[in-house]
Symmetry: C3
Subunit: 663 residues, 3 copies
Amino acid sequence: MRPGLGALTARHGLLYGGDYNPEQWPEAVWAEDVALMREAGVTLVTVGVFAWGTLEPEPGRFELAWLDRVLDLVAGAGIAVDLATPTASAPPWLAHDHPETSSVDASGVRMSPGSRNHFCPTSPVFREHALRVVRVLADRYAGHPALAMWHVGNELGQRCCCDLCAAAFRGWLRARYGTLDELNRAWGTAFWSQHYARWAEIVPPRAVPYLHNPAQDLDFRRFTSDQLRDLYRVQAEVLRAATPDVPVTTNFMGFFRGVDYRSWRDDVDVVADDWYGDPADPRSPARAALTHDLMRSLGGGRPWVLMEQATGAVNWRPHNLPKPAGAMLVDSLRAVAHGADAVCYFQWRASAAGAERFHSAMLPHAGADTDLHRAIRAQGAVLRRLRRVVGTRVDARAALVFDWSSWWAGEGPGLPSDRLRPVEQLLAWYEPLWRAGIAVDVVHPGDDLDGYDLVAVPGLYLVSDADAANVARVPERGGALVVGPFSAVADEEGRVRGGRFPTPWAATLGASGEEHRPLPDAGVRVDSGLMGAFTAADWSEALRVEGDDVEVLATYRGAGLEGRPAVTRRVHPGGGSASYVSTVLPADALARLLLDAAAGLDPVPCPDGVELARRGDVLFALNHGPGTRTVPLAAPAVDLVTGREVAGALVLGAWSAAALVAP
Amino acid sequence: MRPGLGALTARHGLLYGGDYNPEQWPEAVWAEDVALMREAGVTLVTVGVFAWGTLEPEPGRFELAWLDRVLDLVAGAGIAVDLATPTASAPPWLAHDHPETSSVDASGVRMSPGSRNHFCPTSPVFREHALRVVRVLADRYAGHPALAMWHVGNELGQRCCCDLCAAAFRGWLRARYGTLDELNRAWGTAFWSQHYARWAEIVPPRAVPYLHNPAQDLDFRRFTSDQLRDLYRVQAEVLRAATPDVPVTTNFMGFFRGVDYRSWRDDVDVVADDWYGDPADPRSPARAALTHDLMRSLGGGRPWVLMEQATGAVNWRPHNLPKPAGAMLVDSLRAVAHGADAVCYFQWRASAAGAERFHSAMLPHAGADTDLHRAIRAQGAVLRRLRRVVGTRVDARAALVFDWSSWWAGEGPGLPSDRLRPVEQLLAWYEPLWRAGIAVDVVHPGDDLDGYDLVAVPGLYLVSDADAANVARVPERGGALVVGPFSAVADEEGRVRGGRFPTPWAATLGASGEEHRPLPDAGVRVDSGLMGAFTAADWSEALRVEGDDVEVLATYRGAGLEGRPAVTRRVHPGGGSASYVSTVLPADALARLLLDAAAGLDPVPCPDGVELARRGDVLFALNHGPGTRTVPLAAPAVDLVTGREVAGALVLGAWSAAALVAP
Amino acid sequence: MRPGLGALTARHGLLYGGDYNPEQWPEAVWAEDVALMREAGVTLVTVGVFAWGTLEPEPGRFELAWLDRVLDLVAGAGIAVDLATPTASAPPWLAHDHPETSSVDASGVRMSPGSRNHFCPTSPVFREHALRVVRVLADRYAGHPALAMWHVGNELGQRCCCDLCAAAFRGWLRARYGTLDELNRAWGTAFWSQHYARWAEIVPPRAVPYLHNPAQDLDFRRFTSDQLRDLYRVQAEVLRAATPDVPVTTNFMGFFRGVDYRSWRDDVDVVADDWYGDPADPRSPARAALTHDLMRSLGGGRPWVLMEQATGAVNWRPHNLPKPAGAMLVDSLRAVAHGADAVCYFQWRASAAGAERFHSAMLPHAGADTDLHRAIRAQGAVLRRLRRVVGTRVDARAALVFDWSSWWAGEGPGLPSDRLRPVEQLLAWYEPLWRAGIAVDVVHPGDDLDGYDLVAVPGLYLVSDADAANVARVPERGGALVVGPFSAVADEEGRVRGGRFPTPWAATLGASGEEHRPLPDAGVRVDSGLMGAFTAADWSEALRVEGDDVEVLATYRGAGLEGRPAVTRRVHPGGGSASYVSTVLPADALARLLLDAAAGLDPVPCPDGVELARRGDVLFALNHGPGTRTVPLAAPAVDLVTGREVAGALVLGAWSAAALVAP
């Protein structure tokens, strides 16, 4: 049993803090930093993420005294430290002395130092150097009172096509397929004369004149994710050996395409995530909530850490909008509402130099006498008042199905359309549930689905036979299953299944198709009793239904499919239902369909622009927009944010949040 | 005299079939394939296009037994085989053992295996291996009863900038120019200090900091086309030596920019083309007809083979629309109407894996019980009823002039505008003739033009002096010549001719210009008695006319050319006319001008959305749109498609076709 | 004291001519060229810019006889020669024999010959060869009567990331920073683990996985500019040693991002510039005027040379509009009005080959009997009538502050927004002054600013402490200072200053900010007494004002800044004023603010579409649009362009110019 967040939150309540990079500042500044942290209620800082060059300024020469002083100072202030292995970015000397430690892109260009994260995750020389500094830190700080968590590397996400990775990829394939015959079969190498005669002939998907083999592309994505996980594991092993009671994690990046975090869930003792919503994106609150639900689900419902977010604007978009006043608190409490027990930022003090000098921070360039820093202090106070939510859970009876392999394959080479983007479809299906105040888990098709009344599969292009069977049990045991278009088309290897699609679910659904029909830009008219008349976009399918227990919920009116079914529902003997959606529904129609299927889940309609989310015994009400909103209340409550009692209705000003409990 | 299609069509009538890739499937599937082919009326299959890796799984080890069985099976069903040399894509072992066999792009990046067509067309090692497998196939199947045609490689179109190609390019240049002095003169190397002192200094147009020398660019395109032709030739030689009576061809790609197919016309025994119209493009029917006319013209009017098309959607556009029901037949009969004696598809059975698994096929993933496969069978029946068109010709009295070198040069570096795209101009000039039911050949400026009443030159930036003189004879001998803007500006080497443009035709036209004037986005008003008042776009020229026999047909009203001629016509003594168009006319104005010039050709106005095209004694009526259309008939006729007699008017449903003959 | 233009203009008056590249033509053409030049009034030709390949056709073998004949011929016609060192483009033999002389891009791709300017500016081998040909020319033509000016290379602007440049970059850094510690501090290498342990580890900003270090980016731009200057210097040294009395220059490219021309101003004896306005850009006249003012200012107010412009269309835009008739003269006289004493073109005779064959010329392909060439002759006559302006100066009491380092840093990696483009802001601030007929110098923040009543700083992201103090003296000594947003944020090293921004000017302005707030696309409402109500775009800042002498000129009404100051003005004790603009003002509002600040400069409102500009005792009136315009005159005048007396009002036809003097 690995340690989790419990020891830390038991001591500190909801954790609050951010990345602290004292090596960027003269030592004279440190005391001011820690004094201000205390005033702001900071309880957790991440130290050393990019400090390799400072810790080992020359090969093999370690300078740790400064870090000793930092940790002592922080510990003295009662602040816990999430200590990083600084392996995300090696000092330039490593690339200079060992060019093979730097990654290579698909065109053969080797990355140079001068930015960050230029390492090859495979290079033995890189790993040797990385593990050396990890060991030095583990040895030195194993017993330090500040040490509360380990943070391995940072946002692991490299992709490297070098010869070392090519060799490792071959090893990975050998382990997966056993024989070349099996690989040739799985990859369909009879097509385009790609038959491999020897393992050595296989390379990563490098520069080619035309489309890549989709199976090669898919497996290289799987390999890359696994290789990064392996790099995480070798570091975590060192740390766990030195400090068995200190949780080890790394910071995820939400729906990051480069890594299948689901396959990492047993490797991190605590799920930690970085979330940078775009203030220019009106759907950012929904994206945030969805991503937070993914993180909670990856951890099996246990509390997670919001490891990085911004206090205001970031620096890496072309045009970086600041957050409105109040949005910082709303964003933080949204994470808490969705299961986070820690609210942290990148970074404590804004940098004066480097590529992220204009990334907002807890302490801006202009100093502590600023609106932004005052808000940071106020937020610390709010979080202290929310201590009761620590360790509580979110009870979700609806699940959305998502899988990285399916995402990869569903955006791979040579598909019927590039408009069915899996994460966008997931978000579209999430939004009506979220707006209705329905808690949602984001699950893998192979997960235990028995606890869910509603299982929705927005789009799952690739699914294994076993996982498909797992999903098919939902309507059989009385649950509601809703499947979106272009699902279960490919098997685990990415091979298209023969027969009418979605082949493994055709009987379950009582509906099956024979042709995928991407739509012209005008879309297609659809009539529906349940959903009204509307225009569907981007995608249609030529379906037929079979069986008396199948209802046609919507019918195409054009695009060569006049009168054919667009949405179907089979009612199973035990009361379960299996619906199939063969097109991209507009938001209103999709909401009606999903809320109809979710009828038993008692949706709580949210006023427009407000999210209502329950965690434990606290109901969070989050106004994520510029207008004042009113939320009717069934019973009087106490708002933990303000400490005030509210009755009748809760009035929320622009970008403001409440956390209601029974009085 | 090389063999053509005659022997095959004498036996089978209009040929029908597609690519058949049995190596992708277990042998158990093959019998079903052949049984379904027979039911569908398939008579010709292309086998082995990408089978190199299956035929030679390891260097020098050939596995032919499976192909023996395939050919025997197909032959047993009375189906002819177009057997491919599998040289379009070498197995990965070749790239692994001999990296120099893979092509290199302009930046020096060598292509990897994992897609297709990654070969260098020059590499002696590649050629040695390619010819070895060709010889093995030629030896083995020379006398096989199934063998009816050879298919060399596939869609030859590589461009390679490697050192081997650089050396070959120098050899090609040496043959063309003889001396470096001559090359330096032709390329204008006195400009920008590009004087070559030794042949070895010349390289392909690789990565450079600014514009390439246009003559270097043009010659490298010519070289590349020739080098690919040479690769075709060395294979064809082997095949012809083994089977003198079997026609040899390769599949063209219509207006493909990479290869000058006109220079290949004597190398292919039968012209074969791949046509993939975009269902999202409303001009696709006209593009198809134009491309088909090009193919017929390349073959000197002889029947050609539609080697590949799609039954529905393709897989390589970002968003791939399916074909409407009925469009498949309309598309096929359009090709027949424009001279094809064979209608084939890529491919017979939809792949389960590989980059083209979502390319539609004659037998879809969902199997034979599908609308699409039923349409394939119905089409087989229609083609059998059209047997009388086999071998008949299209009588064209109008010609459009087109030349690859001029295309290349007309889209090369440093031109006045990138908006005069030669193929788009060709299409714009083709459309009014096509809508009027006027048959058109697409000819080279050096071709015999005596048979044409109308010769139109939409835009011919580059033309040799000899070819220019050939064109100039049209009005002299009584024909109508219409010349578009920016024509005859450059000579064969791409050098701009001095004097008033179009220099070699200024006297013929009685008009000449002194300045090319690309237009602002608003265009320019033009007044014309013949064409009315309109706005012309993109391009204008400062012209003057000379001679009493020159009429100003249209006059600029603005853009600094107020009152100056826009369109002129000189009537030659013998009744011929020479018109010059100095701008890009809108469709209506262009139609009036061209139909006026084509008055003697008895245009047959087509109802909107319907094409009427005559081949031999059959009038094809093709409704390529979603509405029902009525075509008035002068006399009763029999529709070979339905077998029914029609009188008074022919009513065509959406996407439907008729083939009318006298009763 | 270096020689200037004086000797040349004393002899010829305003100089007139262009690039003359006789090596592109048979010698028979040369006599016609020179005869036509004389008829056109040509007095100065630039010879040999790209003639290296012709002058040294093989390594070490020089062919100069042809150039002897050209210079003799030109000299015989009384035309002066600006003789080029042909080092902008080496012959292909140099790249072939010494690949290291070719430049390398950030991805490691080495440029090939076949275009131009593919050299590495660092390569010792390149320099050795370049200096050899320079010495040969200097020796041969030192005393030639035609030689009037030296033209070093052409449009020096290369950027090279090769290993030789990397080594030179390290040398440059060592000279700048002295120690690695200092460099590590300045570059902020503690961030992202970029600490350099040895100089050898530093490379140019080559391909990296994410954002470059902004300081590395900035310093590499500085280095590149310096390295090109060094390449200029080593050539200039040779020329000055051989011909101490002949001025040496090179042609600048206006606001060219690659080179800090301000740092070159002491290296060129005469400022020379190439200006290619886009006829499709309605702001082109303002851009031209601004650029001309920059050139005059770089030369300390001395006459400069318009070295290249086009007579009509260029060839390197995708779609190249011609100039309207008359625009050529307007463009030329604009340069004269802004201080040019020479009006030259690229090129004399249009090329028949090469990438610039469609670049317009003084003698077009169609020959001398063309409107364009007649206009060239007419212009020669006009310039002769303007002889009195030779050597006169423009008296500017307003200055706009601009600095290349600030431009580079202000468009570097990781900024809050990419929409505050420094040159576009400069143009926006220039336009109202230009429209008001107010003469403007374009100055560096470190220049002597005492002569200016108005100093405007449209946006100066980076400024050194010393230069900031220099600017701050403007209001103290009674001048008007107006500062734009995001100014003085970074110090000379590009490090963000701590404290409220703009830190060094906060006291001067009586205003300071704490947060940069890029705006959503809708912008923000602003109310102002002076400027009315308007919508500001792209950018805002959270400001506060301090002191009784600070007036809030405009107030934000939204975007989270409701009621906070947008534009402020502090009136200094001596009557000076310091205004701060924290947003991007729309044109009208900006004009009101700047004209209010410039009130003492007696603006002369120009009729719409007309520029009025005074130089010496001549008032130039330039109608740069298609309509007829009337300029009221206070007193009768003589128009030197026509020689006619005008009274009451001057009527200017479309694209026409007048040069008025007292009768």
